[in-house]
Amino acid sequence: MSTFSIKVNGVEHSVEADDATPILWILRDHLQLVGTKYGCGIGQCGACTIHLEGTSARSCNLPISAAAGKSITTIEGLSENGTHPVQKAWVEHDVPQCGYCQSGQIMTAAAFLKENNNPSDEEIKAAMHGNICRCGTYNRIRAAVKTAAQNS
């Protein structure tokens, strides 16, 4: 057990946890920020995607000890009231079915578009390939990422 300080969505938190505790569970259970989802716990599905110092990261296999002192953005902090271009594009295309994977998809897309603001379809598919959507909303995600690219 140690005490760590992490900055989440601009707010400093001090949390007591075991060194190996993944950020995912710090967010969900310690800070009650449940928008970041648990899907596999082994970095395979992308449901738990957050931004660590601005780039996308899997929070399920990122121990708190490795994130301490760094700045984290979660879906809750991506924008004020859902107004990030990626979120708006998600609304425009009414992307979700069950919705469970979508915060991870949005976080991956938002980080990707910062690197590449005019992606081709193939680049979008490659960038999003690590995020599983069991409901199969892939085509809508692709369309929404394109729309977001045009609007950002």
Partner: protein, 714 residues
Amino acid sequence: MTKQNIDRRSFLKVSGAATGGVLFGFSWLVSCQNEVQAEIIPELEMPEQWFSLNGYIKIGDNGVVTIMAPNPEIGQNVKTSMPMIVAEELDADWNKVVVEQAPLDPEKFPRQVAGGSQSIRQSWEGLRKAGATAKAMLVAAAAEKWGVDAATLKTEKGHIINANGEKIHYGEVATAASQLEVPEDAPLKDPKDFTIIGQSKKNVDLKDIITGEPLFGLDTKVEGMKYAVVLRPPAFGQKLQSVDDAAAKALTGVESVLQFGDKVAVLANSTWAAMQGKKALTAVWTEDTPLESTTYHDEELAKLLTAKTEAVRHDGNVDRAFAEADEIVERVYESPFLPHNCMEPMNFFAHVTDEKVLLDGPIQTPQWTRQRVADLLEREAEQVEVKMTRMGGGFGRRLYGDFALEAAEVSKLAKAPVQLVFSREDDMSAGTYRMAIKYKIKAAIKDKKITAYHLTEAAINSNMYGLIPNFFPAGAIENYRVDNAKMESNITTGAWRAPYTNFLAFAEQSFFDELSEKMEVDAVQLRLDLLENAKKNKEDERMQWSPDRMQECIKLVAEKAGWSTPKEGVFQGLSAYYSHNTHVAEIAEVVMKENRPVVTKVYCAVDCGIVVNPEAAKNQIEGGIIDGVGHAMFGDLAFNNGIPSATNFDKFRLIRHQEAPEIEVFFIQNNVDPTGLGEPSLPPAGGAIANAIYKATGKRFYKQPFVQEMDVLG
């Protein structure tokens, strides 16, 4: 067709309760101002008072309307589309509607189940009546207020308008309306007057989904709640002999370890600590029943295909037709087990106290689960309250409330509120799997006609049910027979999105493709001809599908895909299948890339009657196709001594972005009562891609997943 009627008593009871009384607003209501496309706009202003007109509808004094979403939402859009139906008949302003998820309340809501793609079909009439009845009460109250005949009043977007053009909103007469008699026969709209049904409305939870608000079962947080993770026998057939929990108990965060039956629950102050605690348990397992492996299932199922079986339907005489045939074609199709792999692993919240039992979480069958929990705890069902969260997928897995029963049992033992969580590994290894199945199909061809069709199913634990043996080609081929056989297994099996047909459709539609080639008839033409034959049996009550509607779907998809004008380097495959009361035809396109077939596109024509929420309906069709393609290509779960071959997504391959084909969906336009869309586009997908891959490569697939067979293509 079963029609569900709203129980009039419950109408009266609810409006009676509201008479003179007032219901207060809730701050957590979901706002759904859907006209706005790319803009997220502020929440609706909540009224000070709500007036309940029936179980589905509350009208606020400011004109805002709450509509209850009665059924569990698993991603099939019923939380949006069912309230749309109520709003339509109520003539509500959809921009002033808030949707609230109803708890389990069988007295108010018939059939609160998410299963079989039946929510819209079976509730269509009841939802319409709920809206129409409330509207009639509001109109009657307005008529009284103005001292005019109700027949002179019109309604529009949450307002009542009189002959002088004066206009009041529903909130202004809600209190008076709530005290009126519930009318018997409020008229329903003519579908041509629909203004909400048939217009795309956004998912009512959309904003909460994209901003990460708590919505799902796993998002439940309750004061004093313990997280519980359960150790279960690692292999089917094993039972617990003993467990050493010392190491688990020594971990920080772990609060207690409880044994129940053959399972051990670790309770902790965080999910992670509970998961670590479970890993720290050392258990000794013994064999209870024989441990089974896939090789054993394969042998047994193969034997069943040749054993003597009982016919579940036999028209004409298939044996005679085979004896007289010019040619006999016989093929065997094989499928593996499949886990459901809902994106949100199984979980449930339970709080068992002496007074009552509270259950809250993702469940497709709240009523059945309530009864089972009541039986387990030896309580009355009325003592068990069930609330429903949004679900991160269902696919049939959440029909089985095993996780809710476990949560209740653990809460009772722990005397605490408990959130029971499956890790992904638990989810994949304590499944209620789609069983492995084999189909043998045998057909007789004589004088270039199919004269007999004989299907034999060999399945694990249970066989196809209901009307499935009467689906196409029953009625289309004179001599027709279906036989069922099964073996028992200790591996738990159950419904998996489009039960049986999820694989049967692939077998059948691949088989017909092969027959069309042998008979030298175009694949589209062969299906149309067979459907033409089936028309003479239309009166047979076992035939609940329509040859005419299926023909229309096939013609439409063939036209849209350009079936008759082949494209250079593009190979097409057809598949058409009726299931869950909806008719679907699909054409898949495959191109060769680096010597391997790649599915690039699927065209799909659907007849589901009236399309309630078109964009969401398309989303369902797309999802079903991607699911069908994905599992046909990659889905595989084998067993080795009772242990599943994959327990997480590193070993179990699900379809991902780069493998998802483009999809175009076309709906047949008609005014037939609507049917469901959660399942019907899945069954045809496997056959469509298999038939296209055959054209591209000359190789037919008889076994799923195709990816294993593709390796032989190099």
